[in-house]
């Protein structure tokens, strides 16, 4: 299925952000993804929807390179995972966030981000504090992340994901346990990042939050993309 054409005419053929070709992933007998083929253009905010167990998180993990597909392939910005030119550099372009926080409970938010920055070769502490402020938290807060509320942990997780200015952001349920006002703030943040040229995938059950901001809604059912629409039928969501 081809994505809808961009409104702004492009000079040359742009490389799509993500291309899935026959992507299949099986866990033993259970098929989480069935032969998914799709292209996703750069610079858009995609919302991935579907019921539990439909394969949304699996698809996100496959795009993040965390899964080895049973069949088929994933390519990000033109470089295929497992292919000859898939250098580590693709990973520098990705930001991933999921339900496990990917943070050390024993360290504060700032310590977590500083360490994460070092993993990406970034020594600048100011960027870490900026990222923390961006999600509405206080960088000076010295409490270990394990003592945070779920929502604050979620936001710290998001800060970690976008710290290194990734071109592609993959967010799995970023708004769960976050209060509505903060969630709206996060949506605005994502909106601005998309406007600045980032490609963003958001898996969520709270699609209403993104009803205005999103470029496309991708419905997943039973391991396959059922439909891709640009407007959200509000009756189908909570």
């Amino acid at each position: 299925m081809t994505p809808t054409a961009a409104a702004v005419p492009q000079a040359a053929e742009p490389v799509p952000a993500v291309v899935l070709t026959g992507l299949t992933k099986q866990f033993g007998r259970f098929a989480a993804l069935r032969n998914v083929s799709a292209e996703f253009a750069e610079g858009k905010l995609y919302v991935i929807l579907g019921e539990n167990g439909a394969g949304k998180s699996t698809m996100l993990r496959a795009i993040a390179g965390l899964l080895r597909p049973t069949n088929g392939s994933v390519s990000v910005f033109g470089a295929q995972y497992g292919g000859l030119d898939s250098g580590r550099w693709i990973l520098g372009q990705l930001g991933y966030m999921a339900h496990p926080s990917l943070l050390y409970d024993e360290m504060s938010a700032m310590e977590n981000l500083i360490y994460s920055a070092r993993l990406h070769g970034i020594d600048d502490e100011a960027r870490c504090s900026d990222a923390i402020r961006l999600v509405g938290l206080d960088p000076a807060l010295n409490r270990p992340v394990g003592q945070y509320s779920q929502g604050m942990r979620q936001r710290t997780s998001l800060a970690r994901a976008l710290l290194h200015d990734p071109r592609l952001l993959l967010l799995d349920e970023p708004f769960s346990n976050v209060d509505v006002a903060s969630a709206r703030g996060m949506v605005q943040l994502l909106s601005h990042m998309r406007d600045a040229g980032k490609t963003i995938f958001v898996v969520t059950h709270q699609a209403r939050l993104l009803a205005q901001a999103a470029d496309e809604f991708v419905w997943i059912h039973s391991g396959n993309i059922e439909s891709r629409v640009t407007t959200l039928d509000l009756e189908l969501v909570q």
Partner: protein
């Protein structure tokens, strides 16, 4: 069962029988140990066969790490299991031999100790295979196989040197082998290799069939939930 398989089994049985004849009848009686020494014709060929199989396991594991094919993983598990069978035979025949000759079941002599260590290594390999889940099993096992095989020279070398420093009765008799006895050893080895090949073949078929069933069930579930 198909005809070629029956023929193969018949050949193996014939070879084993011939080897038995060679070992128990034709080969001359050993001068110091007497007829008990004849167990040597099972002890040694089992060891050599086991080593061949563990070597095959090593190469199959490396092949899997590069190519990730189910064939290579199937071969790896097959050769490890059958190899362990022969290795267990070595461990059992050793003490059976030692007891009447030296009056003790076990000495921590170089060869027997090394055999035991290798046995432990490959048992741990099989346990990891059993205890790990899903798609990871093959990768983890293959990695472990590389470690195990890399360890083999260290095991033999270290234990050998240890024993030269602290000598103990040696099971398996050092020294030269009478040429007449070589026939028995080699025939038995040939028979054991043929036996091992047949065992591997059966085990491999079993492994393939299991995987086929898994894949069919997986494919079914794949096709079941097609998009509406």
């Amino acid at each position: 069962m198909k005809t070629p398989v029956l023929i193969a089994i018949a050949v193996v049985v014939a070879l084993l029988a011939f080897g038995l004849y060679q070992g128990l009848v034709v080969a001359p009686t050993e001068q110091t140990m007497g007829d008990v020494q004849r167990i040597f014709y099972y002890h040694v060929p089992s060891a050599w066969t086991g080593i061949l199989l563990f070597t095959a396991n090593f190469f199959a594991s490396i092949w899997y790490l590069f190519r990730r094919t189910t064939v290579s993983d199937s071969i790896a598990v097959t050769t490890a299991e059958v190899g362990l069978v022969f290795w267990t035979i070595v461990l059992i025949t050793g003490p059976i031999w030692a007891r009447p000759v030296w009056g003790i079941w076990w000495t921590w002599d170089a060869r027997l100790t090394s055999t035991l260590v290798l046995w432990l290594i490959y048992v741990s390999y099989l346990i990891v295979r059993r205890f790990s889940s899903g798609g990871q099993t093959a990768v983890l096992a293959a990695a472990l196989a590389v470690f195990g095989f890399a360890d083999v020279p260290f095991v033999y070398l270290s234990i050998w040197y240890f024993r030269t420093q602290h000598p103990q009765p040696v099971i398996g008799g050092g020294g030269k082998l009478d040429p007449a006895m070589w026939h028995a050893v080699l025939y038995n080895w040939l028979a054991f290799i043929a036996f091992a090949l047949v065992l591997c073949w059966f085990r491999y078929q079993l492994e393939r069939k299991q995987r086929d069933v898994e894949e069919t069930l997986a494919l079914e579930s794949l096709l079941e939930g097609s998009p509406r």
